[in-house]
Symmetry: C2
Subunit: 455 residues, 2 copies
């Protein structure tokens, strides 16, 4: 049997296994799910071992654990690659918007629905299955392969940097491929040349010592909800320009060539609005929507909390109001500097009658930009062209994979996105899904990548 | 035994009974506590009956029920008074700020702590106990008395108007006294001459159809949290001036005499800041803090909800953000007109890229202002002067008691606040309490009020 036949024959089992994987609610953001994240890591160890991959082992960090494994018997004249992915998932709230429960995977019309189906459980399983097929049918892999899976990507990989620094020998490779990412559409491949960086923070505005009667104290003390509204409004104009002093200073402006490359990739504004359900596009003036999505930094409110949120009326004058904010950064912004600029903005713009505090939340990433002549990117592009029969689009992504910049720092390697999800698969939202035909296609692509890298 | 001896002798029992009353979590704002509100009403019926008051009965409304009772045997030459109060309470959240649990009343240093201790369970029990003492010791009341207690004051008494309209014969009286209100301090009485009106609403801003990945879509579609911040900020300047067009149009300006009367009541800004724990006072420019608290309208955010509010970072671009707002109104503002002005403001100031919707929440009240020559107010003032040995301050209150304006409309009577809580007793906040000496003093005052009204 060829590896292709093996993959075809075993696809039903692989799908069952992916269902098992999704059933583990490995939500890294919620302390109460820490045990589930660990259980997902153990599931990955067992699955790697079952595939014939060696040394699968859990590594502790200050937070959620990491799993490493390898198969290094191809010989010293063959390259060694490191394959990256993550087994943690985003929170699934709001549950009531899911057609079927997020941790009870369901297959409908060649799609598997569930939290983590595409981001990243389905996608990270793909290279393991490709390796299993080669090992099962040929008894070997054509190159040396390391696997590196983490359990904290969705909270910004706060503990990965010390782990990588302390385990360089376990991660040493000639090239890195990320099984977290996506293809352009089910028919069209892409090479993702840039990712945005990330900084996460929370602004808390405090007025009185405790919640007060809004009738007895309204007009006497400031309302932290209103003060927070003024503070947030001061950070970004209604038209989408970020007003934090110095925020854009380090941004590398798009060249005419960059803008032309972006413009060559198809874009349908009406389709984007239909997909998101937004009444209009909205972003920084002077740039196309795609330029904003791909190559301009953002400042987004992720959540706000203040006072009474139950049913009906509670005539309370709240004591505290807070907002969670993340900024997505582009080359050459620095997360620490952007945080400092926002903290200074809050200090300088705090409305009267309240105090305002800023704290950093877990999660940081430097922006990531692949150099033009990068070899691993070129090889991956050839495999994608062969598998899809089309030249890949050259794209950028608004998302962040913090570990990519850490790997670059520590190993000197630009990782190549080689992953088979798609951007319309409700990542981080209700009704996340993964396409089963792409699940299969990705397995072929990883086998061919390994074969091509063997020379 | 005199009525005073009776009250003294039975005080321990009365306090036990108040504890039983507080233990019922009759939170009118929460649908899941509807049965508890009803149970509190039944408790009031039983307590009225035990006191010797007749015809205690529950009346249904479209929402929480009403309790009426009477003792009408003083004869037609004696006046009939209606005593008002409420047996529902505010929600007790945030629970973790309570020293002892809100529905497990605890006595510490002559104070009883618990949700509703002062607002209004302790205060509404006072006239029942005064009547019990007179009935027990003299076999009669000196005047005719009706009791009218409701279970929806804390949500703005939405169903009281139809109830009152349909039960005028049950409520007919010569004077109305409210057992909801407060005295100036434990040594000083007050006559409350004005209450603010109320209108309650919720603004909801919607962007995309569902929550999105903040990296994949940030810069592409508007953020409803940020749009809500801009919309709220447009309603009120950072200095405290309400910017909704036409909001102040119907406000009766304070005269120099009004401002002088307000200025005669002691005010200590440092003490107010110490009491509230706010870093500074904050209200409409051009008015003293007390003028703002008592006699200027307000627009306050009671709560805000948007996106991820759990621990840590969730990189979500929320689909929806909303804010609950109540305005406190002064003569001659109209709740419906103010709602319309705010709805128009939202429609005209909705930021780009989102839609905004405004709905009214339950609760309305017209502003309430007692005429200068009002007789019942004068009599109540005499009783207070006699009981406290001091001329009462003439004050206004920022709170709303919606039923007062409805009673004025339907019965033609300005109710007189005759209640014995104090503004520092954490109404609507954690660690609400009621002073036990005042609980006792109020009982004396109600007996003397009835005796004085008998002529």
């Amino acid at each position: 049997m060829s590896w292709a036949d093996y993959l075809d024959a075993n696809q039903p089992r692989f799908i069952e296994e992916l269902c098992d994987f999704i059933r583990i609610p490995s939500v890294s953001a919620k302390p109460e799910n820490a045990g589930d994240v660990r259980q997902a890591g153990q599931w990955v160890i067992d699955r790697l071992t079952a595939a014939g991959i060696e040394n699968a082992q859990m590594y502790e960090t200050a937070g959620h654990p990491v799993v490493c494994a390898d198969w290094l018997h191809a010989g010293p004249d063959k390259p060694t690659i490191l394959i990256y992915g993550h087994f943690d998932v985003q929170p699934a709230e709001p549950f009531d918007l899911w057609t079927t429960p997020p941790f009870e995977p369901t297959i409908r019309e060649d799609r598997i629905y569930g939290r983590g189906a595409t981001d990243d459980k389905g996608a990270m399983l793909v290279p393991i299955l490709a390796a299993e097929a080669l090992l099962a049918e040929t008894g070997a892999l054509p190159i040396n392969v390391r696997f590196f899976f983490e359990g904290q990507e969705e909270i910004g990989s706060p503990d990965l940097q010390p782990f990588i620094e302390g385990n360089l020998d376990r991660l040493q490779a000639d090239m890195i491929f990320s099984a977290d990412g996506s293809q352009w559409d089910p028919e069209t491949p892409q090479m993702v040349l840039a990712l945005k960086g990330l900084v996460s923070l929370e602004v808390t505005v405090t007025g009185a010592r405790s919640d007060l009667h809004s009738g007895m104290h309204g007009g006497g003390v400031a309302n932290p909800g209103m003060a927070l509204a003024h503070l947030l409004a001061s950070m970004k104009s209604p038209d989408g320009t970020i007003l934090v002093d110095g925020f854009y200073d380090d941004v590398v402006d798009l060249t005419e060539a960059d803008r032309a490359a972006i413009a060559r990739v198809p874009w349908d504004e009406a389709e984007y609005l239909a997909e998101t359900g937004a009444p209009a596009t909205h972003g920084e003036p002077g740039y196309t929507t795609r330029e904003n999505l791909w190559a301009r930094p953002t400042l987004e409110i992720n959540g706000m909390t203040c006072g009474w949120q139950g049913a009906g009326t509670k005539t309370v004058l709240p004591s505290v109001a807070s907002a969670k904010i993340t900024c997505r950064l582009v080359a050459n912004q620095n997360p620490e500097k952007v945080y400092d600029l926002i903290a200074a903005h809050v200090a300088q713009n705090c409305p009267p009658g309240v105090t305002a505090e800023v704290v950093r939340n877990p999660g940081r990433a430097d922006p990531f930009l692949v150099p033009a002549g990068h070899n691993a990117t070129a090889v991956a592009g050839q495999v994608l062209e062969e598998v899809y029969g089309k030249v890949p689009h050259q794209t950028r992504a608004g998302g962040s994979i913090p570990v990519m910049s850490t790997l670059l720092d520590q190993l000197g390697l630009h990782a190549v996105m080689f992953a088979f999800g798609h951007a319309d698969e409700n990542q981080h939202a209700p009704n996340e899904f993964f396409r089963l035909p792409t699940f299969r296609l990705g397995q072929t692509a990883y086998v061919r990548l390994m074969e091509r890298l063997a020379g």
